[in-house]
Symmetry: C2
Subunit: 210 residues, 2 copies
């Protein structure tokens, strides 16, 4: 198996953190090319035009971060990162998706519509031009604020997003936050002290190193 990564991008990082938490080692292929683009080789080989993609030994590709993680969770159940029973898994799925839509989605909207290198690439995965929309920069920044508030309340006094266990909900929320901080200078609001404590604890994990 090998994983197609794009250094710095939040979605492949979700899978990389998952692999490290599981102790799974596999070949990682960097697809980044000059001009903050995916390489022509990768684009020519993959109709989805996004990373991450997991390639199995027979050449089959699995795309989408959580589809890859769930596949690997089935093959390597321990340590569990997607819930311990039906209800716990439902909570993890629910909060992971919220971290994806409201965190990664907001961070991506803010970044893609503001960075000069992404002129004409307002959304990922398309060969055709997609114009940047200035209003989405401000909206993305507002959405990041709502994301911090919602997850701050959800985390409360718990160590992790869904309670006592570190899961993919933490991975996705962390990758969204770290990406927005680095590329768009978004700051965790002072009022979100639970979130800030949680963020520092996740950042200290070995899996968070790049």
């Amino acid at each position: 198996m090998k994983l197609y990564d794009w250094q710095g991008a939040p979605n492949p990082r979700r899978v990389l953190m998952f692999l490290k938490e599981k102790g799974i080692e596999l070949e990682v292929i960097e697809t980044g090319a000059e001009g903050a683009r995916l390489s022509e080789d990768f684009l020519a080989s993959d109709g989805q035009r996004t990373v991450p993609a997991l390639e199995l030994d027979d050449g089959t590709r699995i795309g989408e971060a959580m589809a890859i993680c769930r596949y690997l969770e089935t093959l390597h159940p321990e340590p569990s990162l997607m819930g311990t029973d039906a209800l716990d898994s439902a909570k993890v799925d629910m909060w992971e998706r919220r971290a994806d839509v409201e965190g990664v989605g907001a961070a991506g909207e803010l970044f893609r519509n503001s960075h000069p290198a992404f002129d004409g690439r307002g959304l990922p995965g398309q060969a055709e031009r997609i114009e940047q929309i200035p209003e989405l920069v401000e909206r993305g920044r507002a959405r990041m604020g709502w994301f911090f508030e919602k997850f701050d309340a959800q985390i409360g006094d718990s160590p992790f997003v869904t309670g006592e266990n570190f899961t993919v909900a933490d991975i996705t929320a962390f990758c969204a936050t770290d990406f927005a901080r680095k590329v768009s200078k978004v700051q965790i609001p002072d009022a979100c002290a639970n979130f800030a404590r949680w963020y520092e604890s996740v950042r200290a994990r070995a899996s968070a190193k790049r």
Copy 2:
């Protein structure tokens, strides 16, 4: 158990189709109120401010369509709607997410930013005003076109999105399409004959009746 629905909205419909395919019967509560809004009662009871939400007998709520479906799939495994083994499940997860982001996401973007009743509600789930952005109407329409092309190629000669079995990937792609057709007059392009055949076959299923 009971399910909070909002008649006409695509996300609760994904769960309703899933329930019908499984033969699961449960209480369905309509949350729609005047002015194309969720009822004050529902909004006051649920911090996420979106449907669907599944309420368990102890009052616990599970939100997000696929978190609900996966929970019910664990409780009622037959007929399988989320894949038959690890690899098949990965394909279903992958294509379901693409139908969600590229289909439901596009249809929602187009609708929310164009309908007068959604003035100030450009995204779901927020109490604060989110202005409509006219550029997203055109972009949403373009994205629907790319969604049809991609899924037309994926379906090919197969009966369903991931091959021989009807799954949640079909449910999500169908709900996106049906919603966009009804509320935004989006048409399946003539060139997408595989998609059109697939759409009619899913529309004929008992689970597609509202």
